[in-house]
């Protein structure tokens, strides 16, 4: 009993930084779960990835101006992410290039610029903090920021849920009833950027998208409606945060990659054993048909 306690609870009881990290993960999970599910349903998984890289130069400029300051880096990240989303969206809309290609082109430029800016000043340690996060140094201000972004995300999603879903499912119908497809799409991109920025302090700009995409991709194997997928994604993201932190504490690994790798394990488990359309469930149906 005591052993279990030491394994699962003691780290959080003993260390305030572990409690902070855990709360940050829970709040991130609440926002990233539904946003990630919508990204998957919109077939924009890679756009999320691109945006997470695109946030970097903004963070870097903030870092260049005022060092490791939360507000400067956050603001920079939001501005850079939105700018890339806007420019890439405009290129896709007004030229023949498709959205995925235009996002890829612009985020690569953005990422290179970001790494360059960070390397202009500061040691490699700082660069690694910005790229991979320092969840064990999450302070009260970070928590307030993450919680605020999560609240904004959940309220906004609650309001625009229906047009957003219809825009994924049947964009032609939304157009024919005069819905605001383009506006919804853009509001959604803002939410993606906000959540990536919320995640970057804890997980780093490169890892933040992991907590968004992996639980969302896993949830498809467990649920059959968008809302229940979002719930499953939130639970998986929370579990990943918790187990990832434990792993990083006990084995002395960096926390960001531990959390994302744990989420990866849940993903692999879902792909193999999930209830809907997994390898296992397809095999079972195959056997029935064969018999």
């Amino acid at each position: 009993m005591n052993y279990l306690f030491n394994l699962f609870l003691a780290p959080f009881q003993d260390f305030i930084f572990m409690r902070h990290a855990l709360v940050a993960c829970m709040a991130l999970a609440l926002g990233c779960g539904p946003v990630g599910v919508l990204l998957v349903l919109k077939r924009m998984s890679l756009v999320g990835d691109a945006l997470s890289h695109a946030v970097l130069p903004g963070v870097a400029v903030g870092f260049l101006i005022s060092g490791l300051s939360l507000y400067a880096m956050t603001l920079g990240g939001i501005v850079a992410g939105l700018a890339v989303a806007l420019v890439a969206g405009a290129v896709a809309r007004f030229t023949l290039l498709r959205e995925d290609a235009s996002f890829a082109a612009i985020y690569l430029m953005s990422l290179a610029m970001g790494v360059l800016i960070v390397s202009l000043r500061g040691s490699n340690i700082d660069l690694i903090h910005v790229l991979f996060g320092t969840i064990l140094a999450v302070d009260d201000a970070d928590l307030v920021l993450v919680a605020s972004i999560t609240c904004v995300t959940l309220f906004t999603l609650a309001i625009i849920y229906r047009p957003l879903i219809v825009e994924c499912f049947d964009p032609g119908y939304l157009r024919s009833v005069g819905g605001w497809g383009a506006a919804m799409h853009f509001i959604f991109l803002i939410l993606v950027v906000l959540n990536l920025v919320a995640g970057f302090r804890a997980l780093g700009t490169l890892m933040a998208v992991g907590l968004m995409m992996l639980p969302a991709a896993s949830s498809r194997f467990w649920a059959r409606e968008a809302w229940s997928m979002a719930l499953v994604a939130v639970v998986i993201a929370m579990l990943s945060g918790y187990t990832g932190l434990l792993l990083s504490y006990h084995v002395n690994l960096p926390s960001g990659p531990s959390i994302i790798l744990t989420a990866g394990l849940y993903y692999i488990f879902s792909v193999i054993f999930g209830v809907h359309g997994s390898i296992y469930s397809r095999r079972k149906i195959g056997l029935h048909l064969g018999g």
Binding site: L41, I160, F169, D170, P171, G172, G179, W180, A226
Partner: protein
């Protein structure tokens, strides 16, 4: 009585390339018209123009007191994601968009209405099914149930029976007949001339330019069909150039 839709010298197209030319005529309120013609003759373009989603290159469409939001439209290849995790009943309920808007909640009797619409197209008890598990015919029934709920005075259907099984086609033609009996204006793009002859009082034959528009028996003549075929063959070489210079 529903207002008529009047086309005045209407030209429609994409990127300046016209697909429907100088079309003038009237869809009477409460009429039921089949639009026929060879591939690429501008039938789908015409429907898109009527919904207001495509702006005319020339001429105009007079809709009387009808607003474009009162036009229910079922495109040929709906850009629907069939793997999307949504239930049949939720899909049908989208037909209530005009009454609920983006944010309004569904009342109990509205869920009831959605269930009734589903029953009316022969899918009773399919409420909780995921759309991904439906056959092509069943899915087309779901889309018709959604049209039922939309309850629009004008209904535009683009080849609703292509690759649909015979049994479903009969049932859905029945739904269209009921709409006709309720004196809605119905415009359907069709390929099957038998269906046109047996069910549609009016016919518009298009081959980019109108070949004939009137009572079905007078339009579906061997001469007209021949003419349509000839015109469709003649376009390939000379179409784009001379048409644009006309505009």
């Amino acid at each position: 009585m529903i207002d008529s839709i009047v086309l005045h010298d209407l030209t429609l197209g994409y990127d300046g390339h016209p697909a429907v030319h100088h079309l003038s005529g009237v869809f009477e309120g409460g009429s039921m018209t089949a639009v026929i013609g060879p591939n690429g003759s501008g039938k789908s373009t015409l429907l898109k123009g009527l919904t207001g989603m495509l702006h005319p290159l020339g001429g105009r469409i007079e809709r009387g007191s009808l607003r474009t939001s009162q036009f229910a439209y079922l495109p040929q290849q709906a850009e629907i994601d069939h793997s999307f995790p949504i239930t049949v009943l939720d899909t049908v309920a989208l037909g209530l968009w005009h009454r609920l808007g983006m944010f309004g909640g569904m009342k109990k009797e509205q869920w009831q209405q959605a269930r009734q619409a589903l029953a009316a197209v022969g899918l009773e008890g399919f409420d909780r099914r995921a759309i991904g598990n439906l056959s092509v015919g069943q899915f087309q029934r779901v889309l018709f149930a959604r049209l039922l709920l939309q309850d629009c005075p004008v209904i535009l259907l683009d080849e609703p029976f292509t690759s649909i099984d015979a049994r479903t086609t009969v049932d859905l033609l029945d739904v269209i007949q009921r709409w006709h009996a309720e004196s809605r204006t119905i415009i359907v793009v069709l390929h099957n001339l038998e269906q046109v002859r047996s069910s549609f009082p009016r016919t518009l034959m298009l081959a980019r330019e109108p070949i004939g528009w009137g009572d079905t028996a007078e339009i579906l003549t061997p001469e007209n069909l021949q003419k349509a075929r000839r015109m469709s063959e003649a376009w390939d070489e000379s179409a784009e150039v001379c048409r644009i210079s006309e505009l």
